[in-house]
Subunit: 343 residues, 2 copies
Amino acid sequence: MHPSRRVTIIDVARHAGVSTTAVSKVMRNAYGASPEMQVKVRAAIEELGYRPSAAARGLRGQTYTIGVMLPEMRNPFFADILDGVTEHLDGTDYQVLMAACCNDEAGEVRITEAMIDRSMDGVILIAPISSRRHLQKVARAVPTVVVGRHGHSPDYDTVTDDDFAGAGLVVDHLVTLGHQRIAHIEHAERNPVRLKEMPNAQRADGYRHAMQAHGLGDHIDIVSTTYTQQGGYLGAQQLLARPQRPTAIFAGADIVAMGVLDALTEAGLSAPQDISVAGYDDTMFAAFGPISLTTVDQAGHQMGVNAVRLLLDRVAIRGRPTAQIKLFPTLVTRRTTAPIVSP
Amino acid sequence: MHPSRRVTIIDVARHAGVSTTAVSKVMRNAYGASPEMQVKVRAAIEELGYRPSAAARGLRGQTYTIGVMLPEMRNPFFADILDGVTEHLDGTDYQVLMAACCNDEAGEVRITEAMIDRSMDGVILIAPISSRRHLQKVARAVPTVVVGRHGHSPDYDTVTDDDFAGAGLVVDHLVTLGHQRIAHIEHAERNPVRLKEMPNAQRADGYRHAMQAHGLGDHIDIVSTTYTQQGGYLGAQQLLARPQRPTAIFAGADIVAMGVLDALTEAGLSAPQDISVAGYDDTMFAAFGPISLTTVDQAGHQMGVNAVRLLLDRVAIRGRPTAQIKLFPTLVTRRTTAPIVSP
DNA sequence: ATGAAAGCGCTAACAC
DNA sequence: GTGTTAGCGCTTTCAT
C-alpha cells in the first residue's frame, strides 16, 4: 500500500455513488440533500475516514478557522478569555488557532497578516497595541473583534471590561479601609490614541477620578513605569523614597504588584502590615496562599464568550453595524490589603 | 472601488510583465530566476502589496505553517518552550500557530486532526497524553516532533528533559540539607505505556532511585494525586497526617507545590521552618518573592529550539531516522528548602 | 433534488 | 531562463 494518499471528496462520492456536489452539501449541512442522500454520504464518509482539506475549502469557501492573537502567553488572564472562546466554539466545526506576539507592533502586523493569508474566517485580537489604521485594515480584510481595548470603529466590534470602574473599586476599597495616601503605578503611554483606548490608561483615569470623588485629589500620586514585574519593583522603589510614603499602592496589574512586593521585602517592609497592595486582573497566582493578593477580576471567560458570539455574528452578516460590549469587573479582596494602622 | 479583491499572483505577473511561474519562483527563492527578473518581480510585489494565499499554496506545496499543541495555557513552562520555537523561526517564512487542548485525549485528537486538515508543514506536540497509536498516526500524516514525553518511535523525533535525573537533583539537595524523611507527591498514572513515557512517572522513578542510592529506601513515601494545586493540597494533607510526618516534601510540579504550601499554612506550619518544600519546572511564579520556591529548571527555551530544529530537518528530509534529544535539568535553590532543625 | 463543470490561487512538470 | 499548462480538493453556479 502506498504512503496513504489522503481520502478526497471524489473518493467519497465514488464510494457512495453520488456526485461530489452532494458530498459537499452534506458536509456543510447545506440545502438540497435528501435524507437518504445524507445517510448514504455520511456512511461513506465514516467508512473511508474522510476529512475535508481546509486548504482546499478555503480557496472557495470558509476555512472554519478562527485566529486569536495574544500579546503574550504568560498572563493567565488571557487563558481565561481563551477558555471562553474555545468553550463557546465547542461542538461547532470551527477550530481556534492562536498566535502569541511579542508585545510589539511589528509582531502584531506579522501575525495579523499571517492570519489573513491563511484565509481565516475571523480573528479575535486581544489587547492589541497596533495603530488604529492597522486594526482597520485587518478588519476590512477579515471579520474582526478587538478585545480589551476601548474606543470603537465602524469596522470591528469590541469587547472590553470597564477598567475605569475597576480602578474605582480598588480605590473605594482602600478608602473604606481608612487609606488616604493611595498611590498608583501605571504603564507609561504617550501615544495619544492609545492613551484613550488602552486599558492601562483607563485604569489610571479611574484612579484619578475616584481619588477626586473621595476628596483625596491632593493625594493623587502616580508613578509611570511598565506593566511588568520589573516595572512594579522600580515604581515601588520610587514611592518608598517619598518623604511621606503612601500607605497603599494600587498596581495597574497583578504582575506589577509582584514587583511591588519584591521592593517591599527588600526594604524590610511587608504587606499589609506596612503598606497595603492591590493588583488588577486576578491572575492565577494572585490566589496562591503566600501571595493572596487583593485584585480585580475582569471576567475573562465572559469576555471570550462575548467575543466569539460577536465574531460568528459578523461572519454571518458581514456588513452589520459594529457593537461594543462592556463588562463590569468585581473586586476580589484578599490578604494584601488591610485597615490602616496609623493614619 | 470594489471591496478590494485580494491581489493574486496573476496581478503581479501582469504588472511585472512576466509569467506567474516567474513570480512563484521569486516568492520561494527557487532556482531559475535571473537577477533582473527578481528585481522586476519584487518591485511589482511591493507596489501591489501582494501576499500569497496560504490556502492556495497548501493545495500544491507548503503552507509555511507550524502547529504547536499545548496541553494547557496556564503553565508558564510551556511558554518558555514556545519562546524557543518562535525565536528560532524568526526571520523565516514560517508562522507558528498554537492550539491549547483540555488535557484530554479527545481534545488532542481533535486538535491534531485539525492541524493535519489545515495542511500544516509540521507539528510540535507538547507533553501529549494520547495513545502511542494516535501519535504514530499523526506522525505518518505530517512531520512531527514530540516534546516532553519519553520513549521513541520510528515516526517522530522527541525532545525531553531528563526527569529521572531532575528528581535526583532535588533528593540530593534535600539530603545534603540533612533531610531523611523526604516524601514525594506524584501524578497518578495507571496506563502502562504512559507510565514509562510520561515525565511525571520518570520523576517518581528518579525519586525512588535517588532515595535508594542514599540508603533511604525505608523512607520512600509517595502519595499519588494529580499535578494540580488541588492535588498538592490533598497530597500534603495526607502526608501531614502521618504518625511520623516528613521533614521535606518534593512536589512533582510547581503548581503542586502551591497546593502543598496552602495545606501547610492551613495546618499552622510554614516552609522551610517546619517542612522544606521543593517543586519542579521553575515556572514564573516560583521566583516571586513571597513564594521563592526551590525547584528544577527544565530549560524550556532550549527544548523549543531543539524541537523546531528537528522539525525543519524532517520537513526537508522526510524519511530520515528519528532522533531523541535529552536535555539536562538544573536545580534552582530558593527559600522553601533549608537545613533540617531537629532530625 | 441532483450532477456536470468551472473555477479559487497557487506550484510543478514540462516545453521552449 | 522563461512561459504554458495541468492540476491540487474543494464550493458554486447552473443545467437538468
